[in-house]
Subunit: 340 residues, 2 copies
């Protein structure tokens, strides 16, 4: 997938479109422009920052109208197959969907698990769908930031459902929970919780828990797993949304249970729009987003200053020579800069 | 374990020890003082920050002399049992060890998986061991920061081996890799990679991969798994350390393979001290630590200012009323503050 990133960059450089042209393209449903826009958001190059800000600001007035879904589950649970079937179901219902996938797990070689095989083939080829893997490099914070901003661009492009998929179970789920309306956890029947590596904390965040591959297991097993998870869900503190998390099952192969999941999501949206939680949750997410963006801008502006860079360089040398601890060095820098 | 955190706080308040007294206690091997010190590091309360900084600065001159080990593996692989057996082996060899466990997975209820059962009982009761679970609340960044600083305190207390254990497989492993000398991945024979939820990226970071519960599996299965993992490890780019990651097996019940693991770690330390990587790696970690500490201090000092708080409050109101996007609000704040 890094190849497609590269080719996006090349195309962007070749086309050399302005922010206004890209915004125009994104708004008119041009997926190539949307892909270039997201590549610019993901770029860590200084020269792309300003362009990225312009694109986001241009898209923001047209954002906010999608249903944002987070989907997670351990590798092997069948996330791609589920999203493919669920996505095609959405398209049949007349919706457009965008899929953003987060996978910051391979930091060293930069190889993305997602890139190993072609995924969601029918969605990739459908004009009403947009599938985008995250960059395989970068910190979780950086990837989460780019994903949050990508949601804005996808919404401006007119997508009705934005699915944010996380691969693996852990910290990235917490980041995704902070940017979606509804959080769906996929589980297997049969395998023990422990082996599935599912943390209590992930289950707690879920608005629905769906047993996948229901066609491949005895129905007795699926029912037993559902009963077990229903019990487990009861032990968690009630959600602020007043929504009672649903437990269901589906088969992405036979299509069984797929429409029920959509109905569950629609019911959640209706319920929480009525009781005010939907908007309250988005506002809370927005406030957190502002805070993170402030952190980013503050650090960027201070660290770009020549005095900061000179000081940081000197102190780094002293650390390398073992003359000062990193902890003291940081204090020293702040003291000299007189930021406080 | 949150009970023990609470009782530590109570004890600290009761004893009301000064930073100097705590440093003295830590240095003289008083584990109660070490526990209080770590509780202060972990505290998010403003009034503990200064005390925490004093304690760290007081301990830093006596830090750096341990071997820092990261240990990870999915739930169910037997991490606690392994650490207990391995830890007792270290103690028999005359070493002291501290175990710091990171588990930021349950953010909502704050319940730690670690707290559900008594773990590492014999180590907990041994004077040559110190076992400390991470706080169950807080962001990964916050927990990682506290763990890094806790290493300093444990080293000042004279522990020869510091084990940083992560529960789960994902982003927290990357944080731990950034603070240890040697990274050990525990795996099960028999279960497929996918079900084990092990990411390629985690395997890539490992200096050794050990198949646990070797006594419970047919030796044929263990050998097959070892061969498979050896092959997999060969496909990764070579480590900067020039160390070839080792694949082995052990039984924490019978003790088989436990001493070989210690020998592997000693061999790694010798090799990398000779070729210079050991120190180079620690310096790189220190530079990253300085950078993170600078970020933290910069944001803290700016965000504590009255003008910042007034502006942030006004902009938050405007976001809540839907008058401004979080993205623009952040830009507005930076512009008015004139930080740039």
């Amino acid at each position: 997938m890094s190849n497609s990133l590269n080719s996006n960059f090349k195309r962007q450089r070749r086309s050399n479109k302005s922010a206004a042209e890209l915004i125009q393209g994104i708004r008119s449903g041009n997926n190539a422009d949307l892909a270039i826009g997201i590549t610019i958001l993901e770029s860590t190059k200084q020269e792309h920052h300003e362009l990225a800000d312009e694109i986001i600001n241009g898209c923001l007035p047209f954002a906010g109208n999608s249903i944002r879904l987070g989907i997670t589950g351990v590798p092997g649970v069948g996330k791609s197959t589920f999203i493919e079937t669920f996505g095609n179901h959405l398209i049949e219902k007349g919706y457009k969907l965008a899929v953003l996938a987060i996978d910051p797990s391979s930091q060293k070689s930069g190889g993305s698990i997602l890139g190993d095989k072609t995924r969601m083939e029918t969605l990739v080829r459908n004009d009403n769908a947009f599938v985008r893997p995250s960059p395989s490099k970068g910190s979780l914070g950086g990837v989460a930031k780019a994903t949050r901003e990508s949601i804005i661009l996808c919404e401006a492009a007119g997508y009705d459902f934005i699915i944010v998929e996380t691969v693996g179970v852990g910290q990235s789920e917490i980041a995704v929970r902070g940017m979606v309306d509804f959080f769906l956890l996929l589980m297997l029947a049969g395998a023990g919780d422990e082996l599935q590596g599912i943390k209590r904390g992930i289950m707690e965040m879920a608005d629905a828990l769906i047993i996948t591959k229901a066609d491949m297991e005895e129905s007795r097993k699926v029912k037993a797993a559902m009963a077990e998870y229903k019990n487990a869900m009861h032990l968690f503190p009630p959600h602020d949304s007043e929504w009672i998390p649903q437990v269901g099952s589906c088969s992405a192969i036979s299509g069984e249970g797929i429409n029920t999941i959509l109905e569950t999501i629609e019911s959640y949206v209706n319920t929480t729009k009525l009781n005010g939680f939907f908007d309250k949750n988005r506002t809370a997410q927005d406030l957190k987003w502002m805070d993170e963006r402030i952190n980013e801008l503050l650090l960027e502006s201070i660290k770009n200053k020549a005095e900061f860079q000179r000081l940081s360089h000197t102190l780094s040398d002293q650390i390398t020579q073992g003359k000062i601890s990193p902890f003291r060095a940081a204090e020293e820098l702040i003291r000299i800069l007189k930021v406080g």
